[in-house]
Amino acid sequence: MKTDQEYNQRLLQAISSIDKPATLMEVCGTHTMAIARSGIRELLPPGIRLISGPGCPVCVTSQGDIDRVIHLARNHDITLLTFGDMMRVPGSESSLQQCRSQGADIRVVYSPLDALQLACQNPHREMVFLGIGFETTAPTIAHTIIEAQRLGVSNFSVWSLHKTVPPALQAIFSDPEIEVDGLICPGHVSLVIGCAPYEDLISKHHKPCVVTGFDERDILEGICMLMRQIASGQARAEIQYKRLVKPEGNPIAQGLIARVFEPVAVNWRGLGTVPESGLAIRESYADYDASRRFAVPDIEEKPIKGCACGAILTGKISPAQCALFGTVCSPMNPVGPCMVSQEGACAAHYRYTIPVKGRESK
């Protein structure tokens, strides 16, 4: 324990000794939460800025997509099965939680296989699973769809809102308004995708990428590796999280995603339409694609008035700079998704960051 602390302090010293200003983006929501909880931001030299990226699946779901899911849930012929974090996300007029209180059949499940099991137990009811997440959750949902086909379950389908991380990073690096000098890359997503997508990114934009784990020591090591690259003008893909992540990723999981899904252009909150960044269900599994089974109209994007989640998700502003933060918008009464999700940047900032009088109020 003691030596852990000494090691962490040495890492902090090493980071401080690289006297170079830099803006680093942590892509993953789990990193956002871990950084806020450990207080790392406060201990870094003032020149190093950590900003949150588009790595919380709930947060990056566009307003139009949320409204469409709410529209779907109001169809009395179906039961919508969802992960719990989606329940409170505000659409432009309602949320799934409100829909449920008004009589919609919406149930929270812990895994897509539980959803499939529910479909098997209720063969006369259409069961629609709301598939959301990045490359980490996509393989398990692909596996569930394959299982549904193998078992011949005809009342189960998936409404896919899946997204992939590398196209979003591409979009961030291409946006001249976003200044990022290096990426703290998501450990769990990289466990699936490996390092190749980052190599591709680096070849185009020449910014260092370090795949990082989630405890304090991991994050400090990751920052240290990034700062060393920045100081020496390098840009390479490195893995800090070696105990889990291999350069080639997990080919089985990659295979499952490729078998069931195909890349399509989708809308991200904060980034707009990003080509090839969504995962749609392939023609060969069309029977399990809820978007083909149930007609839901296209709903115009109606941004929430005053909500700056889009700018926060791309690191353009910090949560405390949003006019609604801490006054109108709080975890008990969230206006935007970044305050709802357990891994949202606003929720992390609200819960853990000590307000500085005059600059930030809470």
């Binding site: 962490n8 207080g39 201990l43 992960f83 980490t136 304090e216 975890p331 609200y350 819960r351 000590i354």
Partner: protein, 336 residues
């Protein structure tokens, strides 16, 4: 006998009710107050001031590693009385039983309450049983109400707390919450998670021994340590700073919480107390706490400060400070 179940008729108030009370309850709980079978218990109190506390217990599963709903129902109310600075003396117990509960389970719960009460020095003096139709309750719900007496010099209240007072937690946190979660969700760990469910009646003697020094106590049940610290900070109108590294958490709770995206500081405890005490004479108090097996993990985790009133700050392992907030809504495992 093993197959025998509680029927609606057991709650009719007639012969079957009497039979159930005679056979199951009186067998284990017999004492002069209860045996009188009056409509209520008539008690002699040696006092001064009394504390009264009531709590209802609804828990799935009924039996879990480290305890059961009966033990919990006694410990919970005993600990609430202790937190008021009282010496617990008497308990009432009311059962709402779902038709179909096995008599064997009921007997085990009743027996466990008797054993726990005896060990804690409290008497179960009056009770009630109701049976409801299947589906109207989940197996069995128990309410206990307790009465305790408070020594004349003792006064525990958040308003007694002053800047500089020390914050003690009497052992590792999160054990009960994890044990229940593990049992409910079918999670298995290499070291099984066990509830810390225990009656801390020995603390009332300590409060009487150190009346000036102990300022306030609260048991960190639902909402965990973090929630209790926030409640007290708000009620006292003072700030609290605790050190993450001093807060005792077992390796199994820490590991499981990391995996599930949960925080031990928000997990329920059923055999722990948070004590606010003056710095003066703290060594004697700590020595006494450490000498009892139920509080042998007692640790000073932080102190009360005058600045940031109503706010609890946590000094992280890295040495940074952050807010330790109150739980908003449910503390649930992370999905992805």
């Amino acid at each position: 006998m093993n197959q025998e179940r509680v029927l609606l008729a057991h709650g009719s108030g007639g012969l079957m009710s009497q039979g159930l009370i005679e056979r199951i309850f009186k067998q284990y709980w017999s004492n002069p107050h209860l045996d009188d079978m009056l409509d209520g218990a008539v008690l002699q109190l040696p006092v001064n001031r009394i504390a009264v506390s009531t709590d209802s217990f609804v828990i799935t599963p009924l039996f879990f590693p480290g305890g059961d709903i009966g033990k919990l129902a006694v410990c919970g109310t005993v600990n609430d009385l202790v937190a008021c600075g009282a010496r617990p003396l008497y308990l009432s117990a009311a059962f709402i039983i779902e038709e179909g509960l096995s008599i064997r389970d009921l007997e085990q719960i009743v027996k466990s309450m008797a054993q726990t009460a005896a060990a804690a020095g409290v008497k179960l003096v009056t009770g009630d049983t109701k049976v409801v139709e299947k589906g109207s309750a989940d197996q069995v719900f128990i309410n206990t109400t307790g009465i305790g007496v408070i020594d004349s010099e003792v006064s525990l209240h958040p308003r007694c707390i002053k800047p500089g007072d020390q914050v003690i937690v009497t052992g590792q946190v999160g054990d009960h919450g994890l044990a229940i979660l593990a049992q409910r969700e079918g999670l298995a760990f290499s070291t099984p998670a066990e509830s810390d469910c225990a009656a801390l009646h020995h603390l009332s003697a300590l409060v009487s021994k150190y009346p000036a020094q102990i300022k306030c106590m609260r048991d960190p049940t639902r909402g965990g340590l973090a929630t209790v610290l926030n409640e007290i900070a708000t009620q006292a109108g003072l700030g609290i700073v605790v050190e993450e590294q001093r807060i005792p958490v077992s390796a199994v709770v820490k590991g499981a919480c990391d995996m599930l995206g949960m925080d031990p500081l928000y997990m329920a405890n059923e055999g722990k107390m948070v004590i606010f005490a003056s710095r003066e004479g703290i060594d004697d108090l700590m020595r006494e706490l450490l000498s009892n097996p139920l509080t042998q993990g007692a640790t000073i985790i932080g102190e009360v400060v005058a600045n940031h009133p109503g706010m609890v700050l946590l000094k992280t392992a890295l040495g940074a400070k952050r807010i330790l907030s109150t739980l908003e809504g449910e503390h649930v495992p992370r999905i992805c």
